[in-house]
Point group: C2
Chain length 207, copies 2
């Protein structure tokens, strides 16, 4: 949704607000950065997350200072950034980065219902490895009780996307300096079993 | 440096404060997230950065609202996060992520000297592609004038590092559920020249 806070003062052409783009970026990320205010000062913590519909979930120990500060419902800013490429121009000034980022302004809503909590934990786990949750032993009541789940509505969210090659100044175009894009990707390598799994076949969701 | 703000309330064993570890994480990242407070509310913006000695630099247009808010010298929290692996346990509760992150609390110092500004811009460019700056045409005076460079001292900085496999509960170890680590890496693919560079050889710093 476009609000004064989600409207950038510069390069507004890079801003997008459609749900499909925002959800796709959120679904590809592995970590978000959670920024909040504590005693008037900024704090930021990277953490895993998951999305279901128009809500983003994070979790933590009920004893975590960070989680307890957020559950008071103060304003929070969540960001997810994916780097797609390094944009190399002929001048330093025209260098750039291809990226997709999402910024969400929201306040935490504590998920109290046990069944809802477990669903959210499944989303957070499957964000890292799709299909993982259904292979696991069920959570115990004690584990659910020891975990706080916070939901953030994705109402005031926006994305910024930069794609394409460098935009060099016209007078620089003839310079014999290599310009273009170095694509950047996050890759998952071959899963490495621990000692207890050396004899187990790699399950389908990891193949 | 260990201060109350850089001491985590949970999993304090993951926190490290030595300069070597902090610098190595900062030198590997591509983007940082800059969190600050505006009208009492948290804001966060992902941006490129560079490091020289014990200072971290970011840059932006002199007209950028974001940069102008920071240059007032209010408190800022910078974070860099590198994801190294997905830690798959036999229970959802024991899932984790291997990561290296740095959190810096600091206030912006505006770099006013032109020569110092250019040096900082070189660091920001070479952070993305080492060796890039010396291949470029020199910055013009106007470009330097149109760019604000902010320096953040790395005094109050800490890192968090998680490595290794899952820590399953003893009673879960015999479950026939695959557990282990999926290594995650950021890779750079073959550079793609733009139209002006199709005839140019790939320079050594990109090979």
């Amino acid at each position: 949704m476009k609000t004064p806070r989600t409207t950038p003062s510069r390069l507004a052409k890079r801003a997008v607000y459609d749900e499909e783009t925002i959800h796709a970026i959120l679904d590809e990320g592995l970590f978000c950065t959670v920024s909040y205010v504590s005693d008037g000062e900024p704090r930021a913590i990277p953490t895993a997350y998951g999305r279901e519909g128009n809500r983003l979930f994070i979790h933590g120990s009920v004893g975590s200072h960070f989680i307890r500060e957020l559950e008071n419902g103060g304003p929070v800013c969540l960001t997810v950034t994916l780097v797609d490429g390094l944009v190399l121009a002929k001048s330093g000034f025209s260098h750039s980065v291809n990226y997709r980022s999402v910024v969400v302004f929201a306040r935490a809503e504590k998920v109290e219902n046990g069944e809802e909590k477990v669903k959210a934990l499944a989303r957070i786990t499957d964000q890292l490895v799709p299909g993982r949750w259904e292979c696991l032993r069920p959570e115990t009541e004690s584990e659910v009780r020891k975990t706080t789940v916070l939901a953030f509505p994705l109402e005031e969210a926006s994305a910024k996307v930069r794609t394409g090659g460098p935009n060099d100044e016209p007078e620089d175009l003839a310079l014999p300096i290599w310009s273009g894009v170095i694509p950047v990707r996050t890759v998952r390598d071959q899963p490495q079993p621990d000692a207890t799994s050396a004899g187990l076949p790699l399950p389908a969701h990891l193949a």
